[in-house]
Structures are given as structure tokens and as C-alpha cells.
């Protein structure tokens, strides 16, 4: 069979997968390594290690799925839990920063479904720690990422926000086709989080980000609704 025929007989890709892999390729080409972690997480990795203590209002910031009969488990609300797993292992291995990871993965939020919200969705978590990784670097990486995904005619801006695991914390918007669109949250990793994982926060610093990928897919391909993405409907595979 020639190349044309081979291509014709190939199955159709899921647009979300295409976006995920493109995003991963961008970061791996810069030297980030892929990290993974469980979807059904324990509370230490999903909350405590990320500076979200029990009985603190910060736990209300996300609608969490708790598990019946298992007090210590949750469906991960963000891929930030993978940061913790990676850093804990890294610290134990005796290696020293810098390290850079990218963790694409499914997350879960217990909220009502509509055209822009699903109970399960993908985030791509990024973490870069070194001796002088700073917030201007965060801006540079994110700006570069979105230019790759959506084209050169994009502009990034930061707005102050709050996450317990970053300080400063920001939300970033992207100007695309004349409109400003919310894309996700990020910030400089809170030194407490580094310490929780055994990384020396006096010597090392860096940033983390975790934008949602459905949002990116919907914007890139101009989709009116994200829900068909998980209906198993091949009419969705139009890329």
C-alpha cells in the first residue's frame, strides 16, 4: 500500500487527543518530561501537600468528588497532585533541580454540566523548578505555548488571583480573534509546597501552571459545546 492509501485507512483522531499531544510535544521539545499520576488520588497529594489544609475555606474553592467509604480519597480536582508525586520522588532520588515536567491528565469537578462545563475534563500541568526560574519565565513559556497552539496573533495577560499552592498567583487571559478569553491559572510555586516535597525552597524556586485543554480545543476549532467530546460520537472526530 502506498502512503496515500495508508493515510486513508487510518482511524480518525479525537480532537481533544490531538490538542493534548500537540501541547505535550511543545513542552517535551523544550526539555520538559511527561509525568503521570493516579486519577483517584489521596487527600495528601490533592490538597494537604499543596497547602490546602483540612477545615480551611480554600478547600471550598473547588467542587470535589469525595468517595463513599474512603475518607482519604478524592477524584483529583487538578493535575497539580502530579507535581507533588514527582517532586517527592525527585527529592528522594537525591537529584537536584532543575527539573521540568508536563503532566496532561483527566480531572474531575462535581459541578453541573453545561456547554462549557463537564464533570471530567483535561488539564495540562506544567512545573519548572531551578535556581532562578522566575515569573517572567512563566509569562514567556505560556505566551510561547499559545502562539504555537493558536498562532502568532495571540496576546497573553496576567491578572492577580489566589491559589494556596502558588504565590504570587495569577489567572491568564489570551487575546484571540479580537477577544480576551480566560485560559487558566498559574503562579510561582509556594515555597511551602516545595518544602512539603523535600525540595529546598531557599535555594530553588519556579513556576507551575495548569490550563484546561477542552477550552483550548473549543477555541481552536470553534466548537459551540464541549459535551460531545465524551459521547463516543465519531461525528466529533472532524480534525
Amino acid at each position: 500500500m502506498d502512503n496515500q492509501e495508508i493515510k486513508k485507512n487510518k482511524g480518525r483522531e479525537h480532537p481533544l487527543s490531538v490538542v493534548i499531544n500537540e501541547a505535550v510535544n511543545f513542552f517535551t521539545s523544550l526539555g520538559f518530561e511527561v509525568a503521570t499520576g493516579p486519577e483517584l488520588e489521596d487527600i495528601w497529594h490533592n490538597f494537604d501537600a499543596l497547602n490546602v489544609p483540612k477545615d480551611h475555606p480554600a478547600r471550598d474553592m473547588q467542587d470535589t468528588f469525595y468517595v463513599k467509604g474512603e475518607d482519604g480519597k478524592v477524584l483529583r480536582t487538578h493535575t497539580s497532585s502530579v507535581q507533588i508525586r514527582f517532586m517527592e520522588n525527585f527529592a528522594k532520588s537525591g537529584k537536584t533541580p532543575p527539573f521540568a515536567i508536563i503532566a496532561p491528565g483527566k480531572c474531575f469537578r462535581n459541578e453541573a454540566t453545561d456547554a462549557t462545563h463537564e464533570m471530567q475534563f483535561y488539564q495540562i500541568e506544567g512545573l519548572l523548578i531551578g535556581e532562578d526560574i522566575n515569573m517572567a519565565n512563566l509569562k514567556g513559556i505560556l505566551s510561547s505555548f499559545y502562539k504555537k497552539m493558536l498562532g502568532d496573533d495571540t496576546n497573553l495577560r496576567f491578572r492577580p488571583s489566589f491559589f494556596p499552592f502558588t504565590e504570587p498567583s495569577i489567572e491568564f487571559d489570551l487575546k484571540y480573534k479580537g477577544k480576551w478569553i480566560e485560559m487558566g491559572g498559574a503562579g510561582m510555586v509556594n515555597p511551602k509546597v516545595l518544602e512539603n516535597c523535600g525540595i529546598d525552597s531557599e535555594k530553588y524556586q519556579g513556576f507551575a501552571f495548569g490550563p484546561g485543554l477542552e477550552r483550548l480545543m473549543v477555541i481552536k476549532y470553534v466548537m459551540p459545546d464541549i459535551r460531545p467530546a465524551h459521547h463516543g460520537d465519531l461525528r466529533f472526530n472532524q480534525i
Binding site: K10, G11, E13, H14, P15, S17, V18, N21, E22, N25, G31, E33, V34, T36, E39, D55, H56, P57, M61, F65, V67, K68, P98, F99, A100, E111, A112, T113, M119, L128, G130, I133, N134, A136, N137, K139, I141, S143, K148, M149, R157, F158, R159, P160, F162, P164, E167, P168, I170, K177, N190, Y221, M223, A229, G232, D233, L234, R235, N237, I239
Partner: protein, 625 residues
């Protein structure tokens, strides 16, 4: 929190910038503004105040201070009325450290009446109901300064003694909403010498309720342990505006100004004689200092701010500070509980100066690309299946049954899937129905995803396989068999496809070795394939097959189909079969009709097909099959 523009204006002598400018300033320097609503004579901002600033900004005063910092406007100096000293017999006893400070003050000979219009309007503007002058005044001060306030009818107390203690198992309290709460020793209460009166920091009870006949009151301005207040509120399921503030840890130093404010307000609204304050403050908050250097700030931000520029931020924020060789020692305002470490001050610098001052600089680091086994296996499996003609689907992780159940799900599905097969079968059915629309002869689908068991989660691969054809060759059973295996097993089974020689088990294929998918990324945005939403109405498909002399082009036939197919053709007619025999070639096209706003009828479609057939018949050397 709902914030009124007019209420904010009261803090300033100068006219405030327009609501739009205020909103913009807050968004880029402080908080997200979720909504700006014009109401009669006022503008209401709905500001999203997150846990880090809830202790000082769930109040108009807090927001006014932010505006003052952002726009360099001076806040009016507010002087509260100082009352003549008047002896009091009020006694306060704190019996548990969950109460961090308790200020009580008796006001005699008040009159409970309707609130004046200005007060009603202020409360209504932010969505609060007016009750009476005393309750409204307390609410006003809470939304103004961020300090919750409670009032008791003094004459309903057993004596002029207030005790802050733990509840006793068996005790009950009926709240002002007529909800009966069972108390225990984990619940802090305000009580008189006999009964519990208030669930501390949460809700008042009916015993000491202020009503229209109340003549003498006790004002409570207090602070309670944030964690225990939150725990209790969740336990008894009562969440109030007071709880929202206490659980975010307000400063005990807020109490004085709040007490002065409420006393002045009550007297001006209802008259009365104000007795001296009784203030029990077991552990006074200490003045904190944080040291931060210019270098530290610039290092964390990746900026080049001068010492002077950073100093301008402290000045804007009204911080008292000293400086020594590029190092600042900042006296942290009592109310700024969130400023604890040097890195907290870094955020103050950049948000005040503005994030647009931050450059975009790609980081420099040299790291060897490493392979993640789990992800690599996923890519491998995906590539294998796509190459073999399987299309990728994703289905929901939540199902009707399973081993792991989630609590209080917002949907009716509360179990995590134990297999991919169930979801894939549904997907198969749906896609088989839509085959004509999809232009697929056979449906081949796969999913790679996580399944959940009681004690573990696994990554599975599932795809459908042709059932061995029965003698009847029944098309409905075709492809109905789902194969589901562990991702590892699938990769092991199929890995020989990728090997170009003996491989050790540690050599996993890297993503770059896998044949590159068409690069969708480096195109101008208008070149991205635009998504075509599909109709929710059913489609009708019809086939047309025509014999024509061998060698004659089928394009003419396709042209006729397109020209006569009408606008109801939801896609271009496509060739699904062709063969040549005895000098003639048969071409079979599938036409798919569908409307975006209604269900089509058979008659409509038949009419179209009739017209098409007529046009085909006009071609003398063609033959409809």
C-alpha cells in the same frame, strides 16, 4: 461580595473614577469582578474575593482601601463619636480559648423601629433585607468593616453576665430561624448564667432575641477561632455571612473600630445611653514585621525594579517601613493577615505596579528528554490502533454501577466505571446508526482510559472486533465484539510492530520515533479546520447506483447528484462501491439528507430522488441499477 459604588464613594472626598474604571482597576490589581450591575442611582459590583483576602476585603472598607491604593486616592479620616464614660455592670467571662476576643457593651433606652430610608437603600443595594434599626445597623457595620456583630436583649438575660463556653451534650438552642440545634462540647456558645444564647460566630438564638419591645441591649463584637467556627458551621449546617468572615480568620484588631462604629450608629438611629466597653482580649495580637529585599523581589519576579519603585508600592499601601541597604523591614498592618512571608510581599509589589510590567522571557535550562513509560505506552497503543483503522473515542468515567461510588454527585451517575466495554458498546451502536453520515463502511473504534476498582485503578485499551461471520452474514452482529485488555498487555502484544531488532525491556519507544501525525499546529488561525456542528434531527440516506460504459467518468454522475440533491444534502454524495463487468462500470453513491431545524419526511426525500432519477434517465447510455 456585592459592593455598592455609592457606599464606596462615602469613603472618599474626591469623586471616584467611573464604575468601569473602578472595575478595571480592581481586576488588574486585586480581584476578579464577576458582574457590574446598574441599579437605580447606584452601581453594584459583584467582586470575587478569594480566601487569601477574605479577612480584610469582604467589606466596603477593605475594597475602598484597595481603590485608594490603586488609584492613589485618599480615604477620608473617619472619627467616631467618643462617648462619655459611663459605668457598667456587664461582666464577660471567656472559658475557652476558641474565643479570641470579646467586646461587650450595654446601650440602654433604645427604641427598636423601622430603619431610615438611607440605611434600607444601602442594604437593599447589596441584596440584604431590612429588619429593624438595630439588626440593620449590625448588618451595615459587618458589610462596611468586615466585622460580624450581634446584639442581645439585655433584659432577657438571667443577669448582666455573659459567658463564652463550650456547649454541653444534651443542651439545645433554637435559632432565630427557628431551627433547633443540639449542642455538645465541640460547639462554642455565648450564654448567660443559665442558657446558651448564641452559637458563637454563627447564629443567635431566640432567648435573647431583640424584638420591637426591646429597651436595653448588649452589643457583641468578638472574634473566634476560624477553624472551629467553620467546623461547627458545617456540622450543624448553618452558613451565614458572619461564618464566611470568621472562617477566613479576621483580625482581632478590627473589633475596636467596629464597636465604635456600631455604638455611634445605634445611638444616632435610636437614641440611648452607652455604657463603657468590657473588653476581654486574652492574647493580644503582636505587631509583625517582614523583611524583604530588592534582590529577592526581582529574583522571584524576573524583573528589574529599582529600590525607589518598590518603595513607591509600600507608600501606596500605606506601609510603615525602614530600609537598609536594599532590604526593607515592613511593619505589617494588623488587618493584613495574609502577609506573612517575604514572598507574600512580592505579590504586593507586582500587583500594585501591574503585571503588564512583567516581561516575557523564555527560561533557560538544559535537561535531557526523559521517557515516561506510562505515557509512552499510551501513545504506542494509540498509534497502533489508528494505523489499523480504528477511530478514537472518549466516553464518560461515571456510570450507573461500579465498585467506587462518589458522594453527592451533581449528576445521576455516581459510580466510576470498572470497564471501557460498556461505554464502547454504546458508542458503537450510536456510530453504526450514523455510518452513512460518517462515510464509514464499518465502524472500528477504540478507547484508552482509566477504569476503577475498589483498591486500584488500571489503564485499559478497548476496541471492537469483527465477530466470526455466521452463515447468515447478519450485518447487525458485525463488529459487536469488544476486546478489552490492560494497556501493558496490549503494548506487549503489539510491540513487535515497532521493533527494528532485538530490544531490551527497558527500551521503550519514544514519542519522536512514532510516525509524525500531521502537524496541526503551525498554521495561521484561520487555517485550522473549523468544526461543523451536527443536526440533532435524524438523517435519511438513499443510494443511487448507475451502470455506465467502462472508462466514462463518474464525475458527471456526481455532478448531477449534487446539483439536484437540494440544500437538504448534509454532505457531498460519496462513492461507496464500484466494480466493472462486461465492459460496463457500476458506480454506487450514497446521499445523506438532513435538516438542521426539523425532521425530514420520506416524501420530501422521495421527491428529490425522483428528480435525480429523471436526470439520470436523460443520459441514454447510463442505466440505473
Amino acid at each position: 461580595m456585592k459592593i455598592s459604588y455609592n457606599w464606596l464613594q462615602n469613603y472618599f472626598k474626591e469623586k471616584l473614577p467611573t464604575p468601569e474604571k473602578i472595575s478595571e482597576g480592581i481586576i488588574f490589581h486585586s480581584f476578579e469582578v464577576e458582574e457590574v450591575e446598574e441599579i437605580k442611582n447606584d452601581t453594584i459590583f459583584d467582586i470575587k474575593i478569594l480566601p487569601d483576602r477574605a479577612h480584610d476585603c469582604l467589606s466596603h472598607w477593605g475594597i475602598a482601601k484597595e481603590i485608594s491604593d490603586i488609584f492613589d486616592l485618599k480615604i477620608k479620616n473617619k472619627e467616631y463619636k467618643v462617648f462619655e464614660s459611663k459605668q457598667t455592670n456587664l461582666k464577660i467571662e471567656i472559658q475557652d480559648e476558641k474565643c479570641l476576643r470579646y467586646m461587650g457593651r450595654v446601650i440602654r433606652n433604645i427604641k427598636v423601629t423601622e430603619s431610615p430610608i438611607w440605611l434600607k437603600e444601602k442594604l437593599n443595594a447589596i441584596g440584604q433585607k431590612s429588619i429593624n434599626n438595630i439588626v440593620d445597623a449590625a448588618n451595615f457595620v459587618m458589610f462596611d468593616l468586615g466585622q460580624p456583630i450581634h446584639s442581645f436583649d439585655l433584659d432577657k438575660l438571667e443577669s448582666e453576665k455573659i459567658i463564652i463556653r463550650n456547649g454541653v451534650l444534651g443542651e439545645k438552642l433554637t435559632t432565630l430561624d427557628n431551627k433547633e440545634v443540639n449542642l455538645d462540647e465541640s460547639i462554642l456558645v455565648i450564654s448567660d448564667e443559665k442558657d446558651p444564647l448564641v452559637i458563637a460566630g454563627i447564629k443567635g438564638g431566640t432567648k435573647a432575641e431583640v424584638d420591637n419591645n426591646t429597651k436595653n441591649i448588649v452589643i457583641e463584637v468578638a472574634n473566634f477561632n476560624p477553624t472551629t467556627t467553620r467546623k461547627t458551621a458545617k456540622k450543624i449546617n448553618i452558613l451565614t455571612d458572619a461564618v464566611k468572615r470568621y472562617e477566613n480568620e479576621i483580625s482581632s484588631e478590627l473589633a475596636e473600630i467596629a464597636m465604635n462604629s456600631i455604638a455611634e450608629m445605634i445611638v444616632s438611629l435610636s437614641g440611648g445611653e452607652v455604657e463603657n466597653i468590657v473588653d476581654i482580649y486574652p492574647k493580644k495580637v503582636e505587631q509583625r514585621f517582614v523583611v524583604v529585599s530588592v534582590n529577592y523581589i526581582n529574583k522571584r519576579l524576573g524583573s528589574f525594579f529599582s529600590k525607589e519603585e518598590i518603595e513607591s508600592v509600600w507608600k501606596k499601601l500605606n506601609f510603615t517601613y525602614t530600609e537598609d541597604n536594599g532590604e526593607f523591614k515592613i511593619e505589617i498592618p494588623y488587618l493584613r493577615i495574609d502577609l506573612v512571608y517575604p514572598y507574600d510581599l512580592v505579590e504586593e509589589v507586582i500587583r500594585i505596579l501591574g503585571y503588564d510590567r512583567l516581561e516575557e522571557k523564555l527560561p533557560e535550562f538544559k535537561l535531557e528528554s526523559k521517557i515516561n513509560e506510562s505515557f509512552s505506552k499510551m501513545l504506542q497503543a494509540r498509534e497502533k490502533l489508528l494505523s489499523d483503522g480504528y477511530s478514537e473515542v472518549m466516553t464518560y468515567a461515571f456510570r450507573d454501577k461500579g465498585e467506587v461510588e462518589v458522594l453527592a454527585s451533581a449528576s445521576d451517575k455516581k459510580f466510576l466505571r470498572t470497564n471501557l466495554t460498556d461505554g464502547l458498546l454504546e458508542s458503537l451502536k450510536l456510530n453504526q446508526l450514523n455510518a452513512p453520515l460518517l462515510e464509514m463502511k464499518e465502524i472500528k473504534i477504540f478507547e484508552i482510559g482509566t477504569v476503577f476498582f475498589k483498591d486500584r485503578e488500571e489503564m485499559h485499551v478497548a476496541y471492537n472486533e469483527k465477530k466470526p461471520t455466521s452463515t447468515r452474514g447478519d450485518s447487525s452482529t458485525r463488529g459487536g465484539n469488544i476486546v478489552e485488555v490492560l494497556l501493558e498487555d496490549f503494548v506487549l502484544k503489539t510491540s513487535d510492530i515497532f521493533s527494528s531488532g532485538p530490544r531490551s525491556s527497558s527500551q521503550i519507544v519514544s514519542p519522536s520515533e512514532i510516525e509524525a501525525r500531521p502537524d496541526h499546529s503551525e498554521k495561521a488561525s484561520d487555517a485550522f479546520k473549523k468544526f461543523v456542528p451536527w443536526s440533532i434531527y435524524p438523517f435519511i440516506s438513499r443510494d443511487v447506483a448507475v451502470w455506465m460504459p467502462e472508462g466514462e467518468s463518474k464525475d458527471e454522475l456526481k455532478k448531477i447528484l449534487i446539483e439536484n440533491g437540494s440544500e437538504l444534502l448534509v454532505k457531498e454524495p460519496y462513492l461507496f462501491d464500484s466494480f466493472t463487468k462486461d465492459g460496463k462500470t457500476s458506480y454506487a453513491y450514497r446521499l445523506v439528507f438532513q435538516s438542521y431545524d426539523r425532521t425530514l419526511t420520506d416524501i420530501e426525500v422521495s421527491d428529490i430522488m425522483t428528480k435525480i432519477n429523471q436526470k439520470i434517465v436523460e443520459k441514454t447510455n447510463w442505466q440505473i441499477r
